[in-house]
Protein backbone atom coordinates (compact mmCIF):
# COMPACT_ATOMS: atom_id res chain seq x y z
CA UNK A 1 0.00 0.00 0.00
CA UNK A 2 1.39 3.38 -0.96
CA UNK A 3 2.14 5.96 1.70
CA UNK A 4 -0.52 8.18 0.15
CA UNK A 5 -3.20 5.51 0.59
CA UNK A 6 -2.06 4.79 4.16
CA UNK A 7 -2.26 8.48 4.94
CA UNK A 8 -5.80 8.68 3.64
CA UNK A 9 -6.87 5.58 5.56
CA UNK A 10 -5.42 7.00 8.79
CA UNK A 11 -7.35 10.23 8.32
CA UNK A 12 -10.47 8.29 7.37
CA UNK A 13 -10.29 6.11 10.51
CA UNK A 14 -9.83 9.12 12.80
CA UNK A 15 -12.66 10.94 11.04
CA UNK A 16 -14.96 7.95 11.47
CA UNK A 17 -14.28 7.66 15.21
CA UNK A 18 -14.76 11.37 15.84
CA UNK A 19 -17.89 11.29 13.64
CA UNK A 20 -19.43 8.60 15.88
CA UNK A 21 -18.49 10.73 18.86
CA UNK A 22 -20.70 13.54 17.56
CA UNK A 23 -23.28 11.19 16.04
CA UNK A 24 -24.37 9.59 19.32
CA UNK A 25 -25.62 12.81 20.91
CA UNK A 26 -26.98 13.92 17.52
CA UNK A 27 -28.94 10.67 17.22
CA UNK A 28 -30.59 11.74 20.47
CA UNK A 29 -31.26 15.19 19.02
CA UNK A 30 -28.35 17.02 20.66
CA UNK A 31 -26.04 18.90 18.31
CA UNK A 32 -22.47 19.06 19.52
CA UNK A 33 -20.13 21.70 18.08
CA UNK A 34 -17.46 20.82 20.63
CA UNK A 35 -15.78 17.79 19.07
CA UNK A 36 -12.45 19.65 19.19
CA UNK A 37 -12.70 19.92 22.98
CA UNK A 38 -12.96 16.16 23.51
CA UNK A 39 -10.28 15.49 20.95
CA UNK A 40 -7.89 17.85 22.76
CA UNK A 41 -8.58 16.32 26.18
CA UNK A 42 -8.04 12.79 24.87
CA UNK A 43 -4.92 13.66 22.90
CA UNK A 44 -3.20 15.55 25.69
CA UNK A 45 -4.11 13.07 28.44
CA UNK A 46 -2.78 10.21 26.37
CA UNK A 47 0.32 12.11 25.28
CA UNK A 48 1.20 13.11 28.82
CA UNK A 49 0.74 9.58 30.15
CA UNK A 50 2.59 7.80 27.35
CA UNK A 51 5.35 10.20 26.36
CA UNK A 52 8.78 8.95 27.44
CA UNK A 53 10.61 12.26 27.60
CA UNK A 54 8.32 14.73 29.24
CA UNK A 55 5.47 12.51 30.39
CA UNK A 56 5.11 9.37 32.48
CA UNK A 57 6.13 6.85 29.82
CA UNK A 58 3.31 4.34 30.42
CA UNK A 59 2.46 1.71 27.76
CA UNK A 60 -0.17 2.74 25.23
CA UNK A 61 -2.33 -0.31 25.99
CA UNK A 62 -3.01 1.47 29.27
CA UNK A 63 -2.89 5.11 28.26
CA UNK A 64 -5.35 5.04 25.36
CA UNK A 65 -8.20 3.55 27.42
CA UNK A 66 -7.38 5.80 30.38
CA UNK A 67 -7.39 8.90 28.16
CA UNK A 68 -10.71 7.88 26.62
CA UNK A 69 -12.25 7.13 30.01
CA UNK A 70 -11.01 10.43 31.41
CA UNK A 71 -12.55 12.29 28.46
CA UNK A 72 -15.75 10.34 29.04
CA UNK A 73 -15.73 11.47 32.66
CA UNK A 74 -15.26 15.10 31.63
CA UNK A 75 -18.08 14.67 29.10
CA UNK A 76 -20.30 13.15 31.81
CA UNK A 77 -19.69 16.08 34.15
CA UNK A 78 -20.11 18.65 31.38
CA UNK A 79 -23.30 17.03 30.11
CA UNK A 80 -25.30 18.29 33.10
CA UNK A 81 -24.84 22.00 32.42
CA UNK A 82 -24.69 21.60 28.63
CA UNK A 83 -27.86 19.51 28.36
CA UNK A 84 -29.82 22.23 30.13
CA UNK A 85 -29.59 24.10 26.85
CA UNK A 86 -31.15 23.16 23.54
CA UNK A 87 -31.13 24.11 19.87
CA UNK A 88 -28.96 27.08 18.96
CA UNK A 89 -28.05 27.49 22.62
CA UNK A 90 -26.63 23.98 22.82
CA UNK A 91 -24.54 24.56 19.68
CA UNK A 92 -23.11 27.70 21.25
CA UNK A 93 -22.58 26.05 24.64
CA UNK A 94 -20.63 23.11 23.22
CA UNK A 95 -18.64 25.55 21.09
CA UNK A 96 -17.84 27.55 24.24
CA UNK A 97 -16.76 24.32 25.94
CA UNK A 98 -14.28 23.56 23.14
CA UNK A 99 -12.89 27.08 23.33
CA UNK A 100 -12.44 26.78 27.11
CA UNK A 101 -10.57 23.47 26.75
CA UNK A 102 -8.33 24.93 24.03
CA UNK A 103 -7.68 28.01 26.15
CA UNK A 104 -6.77 25.96 29.23
CA UNK A 105 -4.40 23.66 27.33
CA UNK A 106 -2.76 26.62 25.59
CA UNK A 107 -1.81 27.97 28.99
CA UNK A 108 -0.63 24.70 30.55
CA UNK A 109 3.13 24.77 30.47
CA UNK A 110 3.36 21.13 31.61
CA UNK A 111 2.06 19.99 28.19
CA UNK A 112 4.01 22.53 26.19
CA UNK A 113 1.40 25.28 25.90
CA UNK A 114 1.15 26.81 22.45
CA UNK A 115 4.24 25.05 21.10
CA UNK A 116 2.64 21.60 21.17
CA UNK A 117 3.65 18.29 22.73
CA UNK A 118 5.61 15.41 21.17
CA UNK A 119 4.22 11.86 21.34
CA UNK A 120 7.04 9.34 21.45
CA UNK A 121 5.19 6.05 20.87
CA UNK A 122 4.38 5.68 17.20
CA UNK A 123 1.93 3.07 15.96
CA UNK A 124 0.99 2.11 12.44
CA UNK A 125 -2.48 1.12 11.30
CA UNK A 126 -2.39 -2.06 13.41
CA UNK A 127 -3.93 -0.24 16.37
CA UNK A 128 -6.07 2.33 14.60
CA UNK A 129 -7.81 0.05 12.12
CA UNK A 130 -9.15 -2.56 14.59
CA UNK A 131 -10.26 0.16 17.00
CA UNK A 132 -12.15 1.90 14.19
CA UNK A 133 -13.89 -1.33 13.23
CA UNK A 134 -14.86 -1.92 16.87
CA UNK A 135 -16.17 1.64 17.18
CA UNK A 136 -18.30 1.27 14.04
CA UNK A 137 -19.69 -2.09 15.21
CA UNK A 138 -20.34 -0.61 18.64
CA UNK A 139 -22.22 2.27 17.01
CA UNK A 140 -24.42 -0.14 15.09
CA UNK A 141 -24.96 -2.30 18.18
CA UNK A 142 -25.84 0.64 20.39
CA UNK A 143 -28.48 1.94 17.98
CA UNK A 144 -30.04 -1.54 17.82
CA UNK A 145 -30.46 -1.78 21.59
CA UNK A 146 -33.31 -0.41 23.64
CA UNK A 147 -31.06 2.50 24.58
CA UNK A 148 -30.55 3.29 20.90
CA UNK A 149 -34.28 3.09 20.32
CA UNK A 150 -34.78 5.63 23.11
CA UNK A 151 -32.19 7.87 21.49
CA UNK A 152 -34.03 7.73 18.19
CA UNK A 153 -37.35 8.42 19.83
CA UNK A 154 -35.91 11.50 21.60
CA UNK A 155 -34.49 12.64 18.26
CA UNK A 156 -37.93 12.40 16.71
CA UNK A 157 -39.93 13.86 19.58
CA UNK A 158 -38.67 14.41 23.08
CA UNK A 159 -42.00 15.14 24.73
CA UNK A 160 -43.69 12.05 23.37
CA UNK A 161 -40.71 9.91 24.47
CA UNK A 162 -41.11 11.35 27.94
CA UNK A 163 -44.81 10.49 27.90
CA UNK A 164 -43.99 6.94 26.93
CA UNK A 165 -41.81 6.57 29.98
CA UNK A 166 -38.37 7.03 28.46
CA UNK A 167 -35.97 8.57 30.96
CA UNK A 168 -34.95 11.22 28.45
CA UNK A 169 -32.42 12.96 30.66
CA UNK A 170 -30.59 9.72 31.40
CA UNK A 171 -30.50 8.78 27.71
CA UNK A 172 -29.20 12.19 26.68
CA UNK A 173 -26.50 12.16 29.38
CA UNK A 174 -25.56 8.62 28.33
CA UNK A 175 -25.32 9.50 24.65
CA UNK A 176 -23.27 12.59 25.38
CA UNK A 177 -20.91 10.69 27.71
CA UNK A 178 -20.30 7.83 25.27
CA UNK A 179 -19.76 10.47 22.58
CA UNK A 180 -17.15 12.16 24.76
CA UNK A 181 -15.48 8.79 25.36
CA UNK A 182 -15.18 8.21 21.61
CA UNK A 183 -13.91 11.76 21.09
CA UNK A 184 -11.17 11.15 23.64
CA UNK A 185 -10.36 7.85 21.94
CA UNK A 186 -9.97 9.61 18.59
CA UNK A 187 -7.71 12.21 20.19
CA UNK A 188 -5.53 9.59 21.88
CA UNK A 189 -5.13 7.63 18.63
CA UNK A 190 -4.36 10.80 16.71
CA UNK A 191 -1.26 11.44 18.80
CA UNK A 192 0.19 8.00 18.10
CA UNK A 193 -0.29 8.42 14.37
CA UNK A 194 1.17 11.86 13.87
CA UNK A 195 3.70 11.90 16.74
CA UNK A 196 2.99 15.51 17.55
CA UNK A 197 -0.06 17.28 18.89
CA UNK A 198 -0.89 20.94 19.12
CA UNK A 199 -4.07 22.70 20.11
CA UNK A 200 -4.12 24.81 16.95
CA UNK A 201 -5.10 21.70 14.95
CA UNK A 202 -8.44 21.58 16.70
CA UNK A 203 -10.09 24.92 16.25
CA UNK A 204 -13.64 25.89 15.41
CA UNK A 205 -13.20 24.70 11.84
CA UNK A 206 -12.48 21.16 13.02
CA UNK A 207 -15.64 21.05 15.13
CA UNK A 208 -17.64 22.43 12.21
CA UNK A 209 -16.35 19.75 9.86
CA UNK A 210 -17.12 16.94 12.30
CA UNK A 211 -20.66 18.23 12.76
CA UNK A 212 -20.94 18.34 8.96
CA UNK A 213 -19.80 14.68 8.66
CA UNK A 214 -22.69 13.68 10.87
CA UNK A 215 -25.38 15.94 9.45
CA UNK A 216 -24.46 15.26 5.82
CA UNK A 217 -24.24 11.55 6.55
CA UNK A 218 -27.56 11.59 8.34
CA UNK A 219 -28.53 11.22 11.98
CA UNK A 220 -31.28 8.65 11.55
CA UNK A 221 -29.17 5.53 11.17
CA UNK A 222 -25.72 4.41 12.32
CA UNK A 223 -24.69 4.39 8.64
CA UNK A 224 -24.77 8.18 8.70
CA UNK A 225 -21.42 9.03 10.35
CA UNK A 226 -19.66 6.24 8.45
CA UNK A 227 -20.86 7.49 5.08
CA UNK A 228 -20.46 11.13 6.11
CA UNK A 229 -16.83 10.68 7.18
CA UNK A 230 -16.05 8.76 3.97
CA UNK A 231 -17.78 11.41 1.89
CA UNK A 232 -15.77 14.19 3.50
CA UNK A 233 -12.47 12.30 3.33
CA UNK A 234 -12.74 11.05 -0.23
CA UNK A 235 -14.50 13.87 -2.10
CA UNK A 236 -11.61 16.37 -1.83
CA UNK A 237 -9.18 13.62 -2.84
CA UNK A 238 -11.34 12.59 -5.78
CA UNK A 239 -11.68 16.21 -6.88
CA UNK A 240 -7.91 16.55 -6.61
CA UNK A 241 -7.37 13.38 -8.63
CA UNK A 242 -9.74 14.64 -11.34
CA UNK A 243 -7.84 17.91 -11.35
CA UNK A 244 -4.52 16.09 -11.72
CA UNK A 245 -5.81 13.70 -14.37
CA UNK A 246 -7.39 16.34 -16.57
CA UNK A 247 -4.59 18.80 -15.93
CA UNK A 248 -7.06 21.56 -15.25
CA UNK A 249 -5.46 23.63 -12.53
CA UNK A 250 -8.77 25.25 -11.67
CA UNK A 251 -10.23 21.91 -10.58
CA UNK A 252 -7.55 21.37 -7.96
CA UNK A 253 -7.85 24.90 -6.68
CA UNK A 254 -11.61 24.92 -6.67
CA UNK A 255 -12.03 21.63 -4.87
CA UNK A 256 -12.87 23.05 -1.47
CA UNK A 257 -15.25 25.58 -2.96
CA UNK A 258 -16.86 22.75 -4.93
CA UNK A 259 -17.12 20.96 -1.66
CA UNK A 260 -19.10 23.84 -0.19
CA UNK A 261 -21.41 23.72 -3.21
CA UNK A 262 -21.95 20.00 -2.60
CA UNK A 263 -22.85 20.68 1.04
CA UNK A 264 -25.37 23.36 0.12
CA UNK A 265 -26.78 21.12 -2.61
CA UNK A 266 -27.06 18.18 -0.24
CA UNK A 267 -29.07 20.24 2.22
CA UNK A 268 -31.44 21.25 -0.57
CA UNK A 269 -31.85 17.77 -2.03
CA UNK A 270 -31.39 15.48 0.97
CA UNK A 271 -31.92 17.54 4.10
CA UNK A 272 -32.00 14.44 6.29
CA UNK A 273 -28.52 13.40 5.16
CA UNK A 274 -27.32 10.80 2.70
CA UNK A 275 -28.34 7.73 4.68
CA UNK A 276 -31.96 7.85 5.76
CA UNK A 277 -34.16 4.99 6.95
CA UNK A 278 -36.18 4.94 3.73
CA UNK A 279 -33.03 4.93 1.65
CA UNK A 280 -31.69 1.95 3.59
CA UNK A 281 -34.96 0.09 3.12
CA UNK A 282 -34.69 0.76 -0.58
CA UNK A 283 -31.08 -0.38 -0.59
CA UNK A 284 -31.67 -3.65 1.22
CA UNK A 285 -35.01 -4.29 -0.51
CA UNK A 286 -37.05 -4.44 2.61
CA UNK A 287 -40.74 -4.01 2.01
CA UNK A 288 -41.87 -0.49 2.63
CA UNK A 289 -45.16 -0.40 4.50
CA UNK A 290 -47.83 1.13 2.33
CA UNK A 291 -49.85 3.72 4.15
CA UNK A 292 -51.23 7.16 3.74
CA UNK A 293 -48.78 8.57 6.26
CA UNK A 294 -46.05 10.40 4.41
CA UNK A 295 -42.74 8.76 5.20
CA UNK A 296 -39.80 11.05 5.30
Amino acid sequence: MSAYMTGIIIILCLNIIIAYSVFLPAAAGQLNLGAAGFMIIGAYTDAYLSSADEGLGLPIALTIPVAALFTGLVGFLMSFPILRTRGVYMILATFAFAEIVAGIVLNMEIVGGASGFPVTTHTELEVLLPVTVVVVLFGFYLISTRFGLSMRSIHDDENVSLLFGVNTHLVKVGAFTIGAFLGGLAGALYGHQFDYIEVQNWGILFSIYVLLYVLIGGTQTPWGPLVGAMFFTFIPEILRAIGDATGIELFTELRFAAFGVIIVGMMVLRPEGIMTRTFLELLFRKSIPKSNIKLS
Binding site: A93, E99, I100, A257, P271
Partner: protein
Protein backbone atom coordinates in the same frame (compact mmCIF):
# COMPACT_ATOMS: atom_id res chain seq x y z
CA UNK B 1 -3.31 57.42 31.13
CA UNK B 2 -2.19 54.37 29.26
CA UNK B 3 -5.21 52.52 30.64
CA UNK B 4 -7.52 55.25 29.39
CA UNK B 5 -5.91 55.03 25.95
CA UNK B 6 -6.47 51.25 25.98
CA UNK B 7 -10.09 51.75 27.01
CA UNK B 8 -10.57 54.09 24.05
CA UNK B 9 -8.95 51.57 21.71
CA UNK B 10 -11.19 48.85 23.14
CA UNK B 11 -14.30 50.92 22.48
CA UNK B 12 -13.20 51.45 18.88
CA UNK B 13 -12.56 47.76 18.31
CA UNK B 14 -15.82 46.98 20.08
CA UNK B 15 -17.75 49.13 17.63
CA UNK B 16 -16.82 46.69 14.85
CA UNK B 17 -17.90 43.75 17.01
CA UNK B 18 -21.17 45.55 17.72
CA UNK B 19 -22.23 45.56 14.08
CA UNK B 20 -21.37 41.90 13.56
CA UNK B 21 -23.03 40.95 16.85
CA UNK B 22 -26.19 42.80 15.82
CA UNK B 23 -26.15 40.91 12.50
CA UNK B 24 -25.94 37.60 14.40
CA UNK B 25 -28.59 38.58 16.90
CA UNK B 26 -30.99 39.73 14.17
CA UNK B 27 -30.99 36.39 12.34
CA UNK B 28 -31.19 34.41 15.57
CA UNK B 29 -33.93 36.59 16.98
CA UNK B 30 -36.02 36.74 13.81
CA UNK B 31 -35.46 33.36 12.27
CA UNK B 32 -33.88 31.26 15.05
CA UNK B 33 -31.00 30.67 12.66
CA UNK B 34 -27.33 30.85 13.63
CA UNK B 35 -25.96 32.35 10.42
CA UNK B 36 -22.40 31.16 9.92
CA UNK B 37 -22.02 33.06 6.65
CA UNK B 38 -21.55 36.28 8.64
CA UNK B 39 -17.73 35.95 8.92
CA UNK B 40 -17.63 35.24 5.17
CA UNK B 41 -19.70 38.33 4.31
CA UNK B 42 -17.49 40.44 6.56
CA UNK B 43 -14.36 39.09 4.92
CA UNK B 44 -15.67 39.35 1.34
CA UNK B 45 -16.60 43.01 1.80
CA UNK B 46 -13.18 43.77 3.30
CA UNK B 47 -11.29 41.89 0.57
CA UNK B 48 -13.23 43.50 -2.27
CA UNK B 49 -12.72 46.95 -0.80
CA UNK B 50 -9.00 46.26 -0.64
CA UNK B 51 -8.82 44.72 -4.12
CA UNK B 52 -10.77 47.53 -5.79
CA UNK B 53 -8.66 50.14 -4.07
CA UNK B 54 -5.52 48.31 -5.15
CA UNK B 55 -6.90 48.29 -8.70
CA UNK B 56 -6.98 52.07 -8.62
CA UNK B 57 -10.54 52.94 -7.63
CA UNK B 58 -11.31 55.62 -5.10
CA UNK B 59 -11.75 53.94 -1.73
CA UNK B 60 -15.39 55.06 -1.45
CA UNK B 61 -16.21 53.43 -4.78
CA UNK B 62 -14.34 50.34 -3.63
CA UNK B 63 -16.35 50.28 -0.41
CA UNK B 64 -19.56 50.56 -2.41
CA UNK B 65 -18.47 47.55 -4.49
CA UNK B 66 -17.78 45.58 -1.33
CA UNK B 67 -21.13 46.46 0.13
CA UNK B 68 -23.09 45.60 -3.01
CA UNK B 69 -21.36 42.24 -3.38
CA UNK B 70 -21.95 41.38 0.29
CA UNK B 71 -25.65 42.24 0.09
CA UNK B 72 -26.13 40.27 -3.12
CA UNK B 73 -24.26 37.33 -1.60
CA UNK B 74 -26.49 37.53 1.46
CA UNK B 75 -29.57 37.34 -0.78
CA UNK B 76 -28.17 34.28 -2.54
CA UNK B 77 -27.56 32.75 0.87
CA UNK B 78 -31.17 33.41 1.85
CA UNK B 79 -32.31 31.61 -1.28
CA UNK B 80 -30.44 28.44 -0.29
CA UNK B 81 -30.59 28.43 3.50
CA UNK B 82 -33.66 29.89 5.11
CA UNK B 83 -36.04 28.90 2.29
CA UNK B 84 -35.30 25.27 3.08
CA UNK B 85 -35.92 25.65 6.75
CA UNK B 86 -39.64 24.96 6.57
CA UNK B 87 -40.42 22.28 9.13
CA UNK B 88 -40.97 19.17 7.08
CA UNK B 89 -40.21 16.44 9.56
CA UNK B 90 -40.36 18.14 12.93
CA UNK B 91 -37.50 16.27 14.56
CA UNK B 92 -34.84 17.61 16.85
CA UNK B 93 -31.91 18.25 14.51
CA UNK B 94 -33.99 19.82 11.79
CA UNK B 95 -33.30 23.38 12.90
CA UNK B 96 -29.67 22.71 11.94
CA UNK B 97 -30.40 22.49 8.19
CA UNK B 98 -29.89 26.18 7.39
CA UNK B 99 -26.92 26.14 9.76
CA UNK B 100 -25.29 23.40 7.72
CA UNK B 101 -26.02 25.21 4.44
CA UNK B 102 -24.55 28.40 5.87
CA UNK B 103 -21.40 26.47 6.83
CA UNK B 104 -21.27 25.29 3.22
CA UNK B 105 -21.42 28.91 2.07
CA UNK B 106 -18.69 29.86 4.54
CA UNK B 107 -16.43 27.21 2.97
CA UNK B 108 -17.31 28.37 -0.55
CA UNK B 109 -16.60 32.05 0.09
CA UNK B 110 -13.36 31.51 1.98
CA UNK B 111 -11.92 29.23 -0.66
CA UNK B 112 -13.00 31.33 -3.62
CA UNK B 113 -11.32 34.33 -1.98
CA UNK B 114 -8.20 32.27 -1.22
CA UNK B 115 -8.17 31.04 -4.81
CA UNK B 116 -8.29 34.56 -6.22
CA UNK B 117 -6.06 36.47 -3.79
CA UNK B 118 -4.13 33.84 -1.81
CA UNK B 119 -3.89 33.50 1.96
CA UNK B 120 -1.34 36.23 2.70
CA UNK B 121 -2.44 39.23 4.74
CA UNK B 122 -2.52 42.37 2.59
CA UNK B 123 -1.94 45.96 3.62
CA UNK B 124 -4.69 48.43 2.92
CA UNK B 125 -3.43 51.98 2.40
CA UNK B 126 -5.96 53.88 4.38
CA UNK B 127 -6.57 57.45 3.25
CA UNK B 128 -6.96 58.36 6.94
CA UNK B 129 -3.86 56.75 8.39
CA UNK B 130 -2.79 60.00 10.03
CA UNK B 131 -6.19 61.51 10.77
CA UNK B 132 -6.18 61.66 14.55
CA UNK B 133 -6.36 64.18 17.34
CA UNK B 134 -5.31 64.28 20.94
CA UNK B 135 -7.14 65.26 24.10
CA UNK B 136 -4.88 65.48 27.14
CA UNK B 137 -2.58 62.73 25.89
CA UNK B 138 -5.23 60.29 24.68
CA UNK B 139 -5.14 59.73 20.93
CA UNK B 140 -8.42 59.41 19.07
CA UNK B 141 -8.30 58.10 15.49
CA UNK B 142 -10.92 59.95 13.46
CA UNK B 143 -11.99 56.93 11.35
CA UNK B 144 -12.38 54.89 14.54
CA UNK B 145 -14.51 57.61 16.13
CA UNK B 146 -16.63 57.77 12.99
CA UNK B 147 -17.12 54.01 13.00
CA UNK B 148 -18.12 54.04 16.66
CA UNK B 149 -20.64 56.81 16.01
CA UNK B 150 -21.86 55.06 12.86
CA UNK B 151 -22.44 51.74 14.58
CA UNK B 152 -24.41 53.32 17.40
CA UNK B 153 -26.48 55.50 15.06
CA UNK B 154 -27.16 52.51 12.83
CA UNK B 155 -28.30 50.27 15.62
CA UNK B 156 -30.42 53.07 17.07
CA UNK B 157 -32.02 53.49 13.65
CA UNK B 158 -32.53 49.76 13.39
CA UNK B 159 -34.34 49.55 16.70
CA UNK B 160 -36.51 52.54 15.71
CA UNK B 161 -37.29 50.78 12.44
CA UNK B 162 -38.29 47.63 14.30
CA UNK B 163 -40.45 49.55 16.76
CA UNK B 164 -42.20 52.15 14.66
CA UNK B 165 -42.54 51.18 11.01
CA UNK B 166 -44.86 48.81 9.18
CA UNK B 167 -41.83 46.77 8.10
CA UNK B 168 -40.62 46.56 11.69
CA UNK B 169 -43.99 45.29 12.89
CA UNK B 170 -44.00 42.66 10.16
CA UNK B 171 -40.50 41.58 11.13
CA UNK B 172 -41.42 41.32 14.79
CA UNK B 173 -44.51 39.31 13.98
CA UNK B 174 -42.35 36.85 12.03
CA UNK B 175 -40.03 36.64 15.02
CA UNK B 176 -43.01 35.73 17.21
CA UNK B 177 -44.51 33.08 14.99
CA UNK B 178 -44.14 32.87 11.20
CA UNK B 179 -47.39 30.94 10.71
CA UNK B 180 -49.52 33.44 12.60
CA UNK B 181 -47.75 36.27 10.79
CA UNK B 182 -48.79 34.69 7.48
CA UNK B 183 -52.40 34.47 8.68
CA UNK B 184 -52.27 38.14 9.59
CA UNK B 185 -51.34 39.01 6.03
CA UNK B 186 -47.57 39.32 6.34
CA UNK B 187 -45.85 38.05 3.22
CA UNK B 188 -43.14 36.05 4.99
CA UNK B 189 -41.38 35.12 1.75
CA UNK B 190 -40.94 38.81 0.90
CA UNK B 191 -40.05 40.07 4.37
CA UNK B 192 -37.40 37.49 5.28
CA UNK B 193 -34.94 38.65 2.58
CA UNK B 194 -35.01 42.05 4.29
CA UNK B 195 -33.33 40.45 7.30
CA UNK B 196 -30.63 39.10 5.02
CA UNK B 197 -30.14 42.47 3.32
CA UNK B 198 -29.68 43.98 6.78
CA UNK B 199 -27.23 41.21 7.70
CA UNK B 200 -25.23 41.77 4.52
CA UNK B 201 -25.26 45.53 5.03
CA UNK B 202 -24.12 45.38 8.66
CA UNK B 203 -21.38 42.82 7.97
CA UNK B 204 -20.12 44.70 4.93
CA UNK B 205 -20.04 47.99 6.81
CA UNK B 206 -18.20 46.35 9.70
CA UNK B 207 -15.74 44.74 7.29
CA UNK B 208 -15.07 48.01 5.44
CA UNK B 209 -14.63 49.97 8.67
CA UNK B 210 -12.32 47.27 10.01
CA UNK B 211 -10.20 47.46 6.85
CA UNK B 212 -10.01 51.25 6.94
CA UNK B 213 -9.20 51.33 10.67
CA UNK B 214 -6.70 48.52 11.00
CA UNK B 215 -5.25 48.67 7.47
CA UNK B 216 -4.86 44.99 6.82
CA UNK B 217 -7.04 42.29 5.26
CA UNK B 218 -6.74 38.52 4.93
CA UNK B 219 -9.17 35.70 4.08
CA UNK B 220 -9.30 34.79 7.76
CA UNK B 221 -10.15 38.13 9.38
CA UNK B 222 -13.82 37.20 9.58
CA UNK B 223 -13.30 34.22 11.88
CA UNK B 224 -11.74 36.09 14.78
CA UNK B 225 -14.21 38.96 14.56
CA UNK B 226 -17.19 36.63 14.31
CA UNK B 227 -16.09 34.54 17.29
CA UNK B 228 -15.82 37.66 19.41
CA UNK B 229 -19.11 38.98 18.06
CA UNK B 230 -20.80 35.70 19.04
CA UNK B 231 -19.40 36.15 22.52
CA UNK B 232 -20.75 39.70 22.60
CA UNK B 233 -24.13 38.53 21.40
CA UNK B 234 -24.33 35.85 24.09
CA UNK B 235 -23.47 38.38 26.80
CA UNK B 236 -26.21 40.68 25.57
CA UNK B 237 -28.71 37.87 25.13
CA UNK B 238 -29.69 36.16 21.89
CA UNK B 239 -32.11 38.31 19.91
CA UNK B 240 -31.55 41.46 21.97
CA UNK B 241 -30.17 44.33 19.86
CA UNK B 242 -29.23 46.67 22.70
CA UNK B 243 -27.66 43.74 24.49
CA UNK B 244 -25.52 43.07 21.42
CA UNK B 245 -24.25 46.67 21.52
CA UNK B 246 -23.27 46.44 25.17
CA UNK B 247 -21.81 42.95 24.70
CA UNK B 248 -19.82 43.90 21.60
CA UNK B 249 -18.30 46.98 23.25
CA UNK B 250 -17.55 44.98 26.40
CA UNK B 251 -15.77 42.22 24.45
CA UNK B 252 -13.75 44.82 22.55
CA UNK B 253 -12.58 46.38 25.82
CA UNK B 254 -11.90 43.05 27.50
CA UNK B 255 -9.82 41.96 24.51
CA UNK B 256 -7.71 45.12 24.35
CA UNK B 257 -7.19 45.32 28.12
CA UNK B 258 -6.31 41.65 28.50
CA UNK B 259 -3.78 41.84 25.67
CA UNK B 260 -2.35 44.89 27.42
CA UNK B 261 -2.04 43.19 30.80
CA UNK B 262 -1.65 39.45 30.25
CA UNK B 263 -1.17 38.68 26.57
CA UNK B 264 -3.75 37.30 24.17
CA UNK B 265 -4.03 33.61 25.11
CA UNK B 266 -5.03 33.56 28.74
CA UNK B 267 -8.20 35.59 28.31
CA UNK B 268 -10.01 32.92 26.30
CA UNK B 269 -10.66 30.82 29.38
CA UNK B 270 -12.50 33.38 31.55
CA UNK B 271 -14.39 34.86 28.58
CA UNK B 272 -15.66 31.53 27.27
CA UNK B 273 -16.37 30.22 30.77
CA UNK B 274 -18.51 33.31 31.26
CA UNK B 275 -20.24 32.53 27.93
CA UNK B 276 -20.98 28.99 28.99
CA UNK B 277 -22.33 30.06 32.37
CA UNK B 278 -24.55 32.70 30.76
CA UNK B 279 -25.83 30.24 28.14
CA UNK B 280 -26.64 27.61 30.73
CA UNK B 281 -27.99 29.63 33.62
CA UNK B 282 -29.08 32.92 32.12
CA UNK B 283 -29.84 32.39 28.44
CA UNK B 284 -31.56 35.77 28.24
CA UNK B 285 -28.18 37.49 28.65
CA UNK B 286 -26.80 39.76 31.31
CA UNK B 287 -29.04 42.73 30.73
CA UNK B 288 -32.43 41.91 29.40
CA UNK B 289 -35.45 39.96 30.41
CA UNK B 290 -36.16 39.33 26.77
CA UNK B 291 -36.36 35.78 25.55
CA UNK B 292 -36.78 33.99 22.26
CA UNK B 293 -40.34 34.46 21.10
CA UNK B 294 -41.94 36.96 23.41
CA UNK B 295 -40.76 40.50 23.90
CA UNK B 296 -37.77 40.37 21.61
CA UNK B 297 -35.96 43.51 20.49
Amino acid sequence: MLILQQLVNGLMLGSVYVMVAVAFTLTIGMLNFLNFTIPALFMVAAMITWAATAAGFHWLVAAAFGMIVAILASLVIERFTYRYMKAKYGDATEHALPLVSSLGFLIIFEHVVIMIWGTDPMTFNSPFAHAKFEISGIIFGIPQLISLALSIILVFGLSLLLKKTQLGRALRSIAEKPDTATLMGVDVGKIVPVVFVMTGFLCALAGILFTVNYQHVSPYIGDHVATNAIAGMVIGGLGNIWGAIAGGLLIGMVEVLSIHFWGADIIKVPVWSLMLIILVFRPAGLFGHTQIGKGKF
